[in-house]
């Protein structure tokens, strides 16, 4: 059984207040100001890197920036750098990683730089994109058999940071913070072959 699907695109710039009130109107349920105030008391947004990174050196940060952009480059949709992935990774290296994890990550960045120097006699950030890809692929292949490695960390943080960012959540994935009644069967084409933002 296919349910009819009236909305073909998600509201792009809906505010939380609008989202709550819109659903409340549809339901005929009163949402009191105190409930709304509670629901709207959101956490502060993540702080981005302005000027200096917090936990990485300037050189480490530049390698992270270049590598993250190769994993998820800018195309017709934003790249990792466009949505603040490097700043997110810099934040994670601080209070979110254990000392061992931090050590593994920083050593991995140093090894990336060393591999780049060895293969191309130039630092990673100075390489052409195809050369950067070759360096990263060699590290990826070497990391395949490891349960946890620098490259696992870099991938996880890049992909997590990208897909949980505001530009991607609102404009790349399909954003609908208050979907309403669950519709169990919808043609994928109706949502533009995009995943729902969770």
């Amino acid at each position: 059984m296919h349910h009819s699907h009236s909305e073909s695109s998600a509201p792009q710039l809906i505010t939380r207040r609008e989202a709550i009130q819109r659903a409340a109107l549809l339901l005929g349920v009163a949402i009191s100001p105190s409930i709304l105030a509670g629901a709207l008391r959101a956490q502060p947004a993540a702080a981005g890197v302005v000027g200096k990174p917090l936990n990485l050196t300037a050189k480490e940060f530049s390698i992270v920036t270049a590598a993250a952009e190769r994993i998820l480059p800018r195309t017709d949709t934003p790249g990792a750098t466009d949505v603040g992935v490097p700043a997110f990774i810099d934040l994670m290296v601080g209070g979110y990683m254990t000392a061992d994890e931090q050590k593994m990550f920083k050593a991995g960045l140093a090894e990336t730089e060393a591999a780049s120097m060895k293969a191309h006699r130039a630092g990673f950030t100075a390489l052409a994109p195809a050369q950067q890809d070759a360096v990263l692929k060699a590290i990826a292949t070497a990391s395949q058999k490891k349960g946890k490695s620098f490259f696992h960390q870099l991938r996880e943080l890049t992909i997590l940071g990208y897909f949980t960012s505001e530009p991607v959540g609102k404009n790349v994935l399909h954003y609908d913070p208050v979907p309403g009644k669950f519709q169990s069967d919808v043609p994928l084409a109706e949502v533009g072959n995009r995943s729902w933002t969770k």
Binding site: A39, L72, G169, P177, P179, Q183, V191, N193, R194
Partner: protein, 571 residues
Amino acid sequence: MANIQGAGTKQNTYDAIVIGSGISGGWAAKELSEKGLKTLVLERGRDVKHGDYPTAMTESWEFPGRNKLPNAEVAKQEKQNRTGYTTHPASAHWFVNDLENPYSEDKRFDWMCGYHVGGRSLLWGRQSYRLSDLDFEANAKESVAVDWPIRYADIAPWYDYAERFAGISGNRDGLPHLPDGQFLPPMDMNCLEIDVRQRIAAKFDGRPMIIGRAANLTQPHNGRGSCQSRNRCIRGCPYGAYFSSNAATLPAAYATGNLTLRPFSIVNELIYDKARGRATGVRVIDAETNEVIEFHAKVIFCCASAVASTFILMNSKSDRFPNGFGNDSGELGHNLMDHHFKVGAAGISEEFKDRYYKGQRPNGIYIPRFRNLNKATARKDYLRGFGYQGSASRVDWARGIKELNMFGAGLKADLIAPGPWRFGIGSWGECLPYHANRVYLNSKLRDKWGQPTVTFDCGWKENELAMRKDMKASAIEMLEAAGLKEVAGFDDVVNSAPGNCIHEMGTARMGRDPKTSVLNKWNQVHTSPNVFVTDGACMTSGACVNPSLTYMALTARACDYAVSEMKKQNI
């Protein structure tokens, strides 16, 4: 204790005291206050009014660490963090600080606590199933532990009553061992779930797959809004679209004008009057001021959660009850149960690539128990049984993390689109009530308020471990028969430690004989008729279904009995 405030004062006297404001306490507050009793609810944590859910509308990018907490925060909740899902930035504020609320473990026990008004009713999984006579008769038929003092017919009208108020969505499936209830319209299965259901039905007799029965509203109900398919229930629902004390029972209790709710009130012990042979009140530590205050009432309902209510009884020692309140049987603290889980299977479907869904359904499918129902389904290797909960969905972008060699524009485009359909089931199994599985007082380790703490000594035994083998093998067998690919079983017995399922039960069990049980068939302490225990502590066996609906029904039933006994002046 020095400087006890309120002893005997009129302003500290109520008709009824309810300890705790979670699922059971909220129901007791509603029922007792609606029946005209001046009711005091004592909650050890902070107040939370309906709607006061700080992360309910927060998007992932608004959390500084997205889905991660800083190490300094995790360090305060290392035990609460054991579930893997509770201490997310969206929900960590609902779980206790382990450093301030310590407990000890002879064997690993994952005790998840939510100390605030509403308790774990804000955090529960919302799956709502009735027990049946298969469950109520099992102990007697198998000579396990003691017999339940009630049968399905005793509780059935109270299930009706609880469901009508709470709002349970579900389908009437006509299964004798999983009785139908007073349901709101069921949620829908998606295309792969329907397909798997049909294929399992074609290959296995007696294994129907049904839509989950959930305390999520599929239509407006009693002034609460219907589910918006956000699947952010654990944060608190601004629409009141799932059942919680905050959204449902406590507002009903307040509306009577008979409710007084006192947050930051840690009940330390029950006060027993030997001459009158009954409890006269409770002694409370104010969590903020450390002041000790006494409150008095004609009737007391212990609804603090299984282990916390048991702690209060164990800590209430008197000449009459040297081993804990109502503990003539010696069973108080024993027969601790939880459900064992984190075992099942999952697989991928290569079909339905052009199909999707809209919204995040906060519910899944259920495959009710199909073992040991009768002779035809009898097992030689274990008693009782298990049900499977699961769902199908399209795999999200996190699938990209493990494919180390894929990157670039192709990877990004692939991850923006939904991944393949995946179907997974995990089982919830019954744990037998063993006298050896227990929680006991620890006077050496004191909490922030100088109270004793508890120590857990509880573990799965042969029956549960034998059952787990079948739980995994049957899951693989069914998913392969359903045509799924890359079917892989799992059995994470280590992280299915007792407590992790957050269904603690049994430590003040109901029974027919005061010599072998703490409570009678009305959840009434055998030897102190004005004290009732209606949370998970009362369970004589655990069944394999999620237990909260049963606490609702038993609480309403016990309140009705208590008030009728008060009218007859028996209490």
